[in-house]
Amino acid sequence: MLVLGKENSQLQQQPLRSDCSQEEYKKQLAENLLRDANIFQKKSRILAFKSKPPPPPEGFERESRLLYSENTAPGASKPRRMFRQIPQAPERTLDAPEILDDYYLNLLDWGTNNILAVALGHTVYLWNATTGGIEELMQVSEDDGPVTSVSWAPDGKHISVGLNNADVQLWDAFSLRQVRSLKAHTARVGSLAWNGPILSTGGRDNVIFNHDVRIREHVTGKMAAHQQEVCGLKWSPSGQQLASGGNDNLLYVWDAAAAASRGNSTYLHRLDEHQAAVKALAWCPFQSNLLASGGGTADRCIKFWNTHTGACIQSVDTASQVCALQWSKHERELLSSHGFSQNQLILWKYPSMVKMAELTGHTSRVLHMAQSPDGYTVASAAGDETLRFWQVFGTPDTTKATAVRTKASSSALNSRCIR
């Protein structure tokens, strides 16, 4: 009956003479039991220091909210998960004659200036989504072309164009003039990715170069690890990591600091789980260090990675070649585009990976996808020579008025300190 042997023996030595002592005994017993009882069953008082810590400075919080939120009262209950109507038909279809049906190229990009750039054969066209007007940016000769990649610079004024002759040209989209030519590759440049003033280029020569477009000696880094053409290249939103996918079925994650060194850089992670070329890459906007990648025909999987540890968090078999991936900026959703046999776009809920919608229409594999700056529309380009616009991520009214999950400041904080 008694709790501990030690206690037992102590108490037994106490003479039990009268009722009084018995009460004493019971009290002692109770005390002993209490003392050795589980700490959490103990009674406790909760103390707080009277003088409280200061609140965060005014400007601090408001800054990030201004960028991303829409008049949300703090702590206001988020509207219940509304089922929003996702139009099954594209809101617009444009002709894209001569668009190359080559899986390894990246011929579509939507700039922050709301202008969509698309490379059709040897010409790059700019479609102004605001006005609906089309303009020809540039055309290359038979020998130099075709154009193998296009990518808008973050400033929305300049655009980089990769060519079949291994050249990378930098154009001013307003004056329609070429500003620079970046020579470094020895084979066609199929992938481009910007990180501030740094342009990363991936080529069929299996190498990735980092160029600082502001300086004369523009090559600031070289990453040679892929064994075959580099077809996917994406910088993380924080600008700390670069993901590259190749025809060698490998996915590499590179650290920004390492990639800035002049010599040959070493990678952070080498991920070899895909069974086919890795072209589709997309960094999650609401969770830092989360990368989604898609595999080609023999693989058909979308895999999610923690780029801090290199672990594969999830893998989903989509039953079709994955050509491109786009995360929603407004909801926890991912859009993937596919090839044979349905040539569809699939909208997934994350992280459950439940299919929310399947958009068909294209009659050939949907090779490229680009998202509007407001994050509501996705443009898809396919080998069927059409460009379709899908209102897949909602409209400004149906979207929840909450701040975007990842704020620039927070992701910078996280990536600086995570070990």
Binding site: R45, L47, F49, P54, F60, S409, C417, I418
Partner: protein
């Protein structure tokens, strides 16, 4: 314990020493959480080397003052063996709703408080345990929901009912989270004080499980 004084003194833990180590641990842990959860701007933090890591510590006077006043009081109280837990509460500035609770449960060795007995544990081991917890705090950002609004924090100390508290301290309610998800973190054991940590956070209504 042994005859070799030099080696022995390094590994001997006294009640006072342990209380000081734990108090200091709380101070760095709280600073780290403030930085990682983005409660204050990163410019307010300095980098210092501690526990073999680069720790971020706030240099803002009021924040620094609060943390130091509370943790030094906790270190004093730890010597009495009457501290049961330390909780860091993170709540919305505007609505006061509690969004996160970092719990540090404390068990104090009876023998040490009652008889002043010392224990043995290498500094190195203790530092490694603290290092592991700090790393976990840092990587907790990968699963903790993003704190969208301005938040304030507070430190609560659960003590025995018979602990004397100075007038600068007041009674508080536990400030619990209504619907919480908990994640247990690693523990720290100085042989005199055992600290179990866990973080509880408000379950997001529309997150998929």
């Amino acid at each position: 314990m042994g005859t070799g004084q030099q080696a022995a003194t390094r590994d001997v833990i006294t009640l006072k020493g342990s209380s000081s180590i734990v108090g200091e641990f709380f101070s760095y842990a709280v600073n780290s959480i403030l930085f990682q959860r983005g409660l204050y701007p990163s410019e307010q933090f300095d980098r210092v080397k501690k526990y073999g890591l680069t720790m971020l510590v706030s240099h803002e006077d009021k924040v620094k003052g609060y943390i130091s006043a509370v943790t030094s009081q906790i270190a004093d109280w730890l010597q009495t063996g009457k501290v049961q837990r330390v909780v860091m509460v993170i709540s919305s500035l505007a609505t006061k709703e509690v969004l996160e609770r970092w719990n540090f449960l404390i068990e104090t060795d009876r023998e040490a408080t009652e008889t002043g007995a010392t224990k043995e544990k290498s500094d190195k081991e203790i530092m490694q345990e603290i290092q592991a917890i700090m790393r976990q705090i840092t990587s907790s950002v990968t699963f903790l929901p993003h704190l969208e609004e301005s938040c304030s924090f507070e430190l609560l100390v659960y003590t025995d009912t018979d602990l004397e508290a100075p007038t600068s301290w007041e009674e508080s309610d536990p400030r619990l989270i209504k619907k919480a998800q908990e994640v247990k973190l690693r523990s720290l054991n100085t042989k005199i004080h055992k600290i179990d940590s866990l973080v509880a956070y408000k379950v997001d209504d529309d997150s998929n499980v």
